[in-house]
């Protein structure tokens, strides 16, 4: 039996949901970032799967989008983690529930 597209999409959906779980349930800022990264990776998996299962011949569009999205995710992680450090320096906490002030 060769796996069909649905299998990959379900795995990707599961990964996305787990990322969502991490982003919504955990109160620690780094967990939220991990969750977001996981959702992005799930989206990449979708792109690659759809690219692989598309009729032949095809341009490597899905692969390109995945490459760019990985690069952008890296930039996002760098800035996000820098923000976590900056916030921690200021408030001495990384719990997002306690960061409820607009005043610096």
């Amino acid at each position: 039996m060769t796996p069909n597209l649905q299998v990959f999409l379900i795995v990707s959906a599961a990964l996305f949901s787990i990322g969502l779980l991490a982003a919504l349930s955990r109160r620690h800022a780094i967990f939220i970032l991990i969750g977001i990264e996981m959702m992005l990776a799930a989206a990449n998996l979708n792109f690659i799967a759809f690219w692989r299962f598309a009729p032949q011949p095809k341009p490597p569009l899905g692969v390109m989008i995945a490459i760019f999205s990985i690069a952008i995710a890296a930039a996002e992680a760098a800035v996000g983690l820098a923000m976590v450090i900056a916030v921690y320096r200021h408030y001495r906490t990384t719990n997002v529930d306690q960061l409820d002030q607009l005043k610096g």
């Binding site: 796996p3 970032l33 690659i48 598309a54 490459i67 760019f68 760098a78």
Partner: protein, 160 residues
Amino acid sequence: MNSAALIIIAIVTLAAALAAATLRKLMHAALSFAVALVGIAAFFFLLGAEFVGLALVFIYIGAVAVLIVFTILLTRRDVGEGRGFNWGGAIIAVAVFGGLTWSILKTQSLAIVAPRMPALTVKQIGVALMTTYVWPLQCVGLLLTAALIGALILVMEEKR
């Protein structure tokens, strides 16, 4: 595409991802996140996109995971208890998963097997990056530079 390999990789990836989302110790969660990323890279290999898989390992394990563990180290006073777990999030996540699975299984046009495909070489990707996608590539370069500078400015010591 080998279904035995697929099942093993899927189980490892999802278990690691679940561990990353739920483990109490932050460092363990970050390391499971790295394992989950290796699993996703293995999926990319399975789907014939080796270059993307390698790029994923290179960028995520070599850079992002190291960044995450460094951040955990720098905000150490907060590590210990992963206190507070919002069960509402779990309900939403399960609902989203259920909805997605239901709609995927419902769509008959998705029940297709992969067509035969010539291997995608690194050279093809390189040519595409340098011709069709040269503007996006430059934009990503600019974005990364901006992100680098931005991150540096954010973590610079505040002058008082």
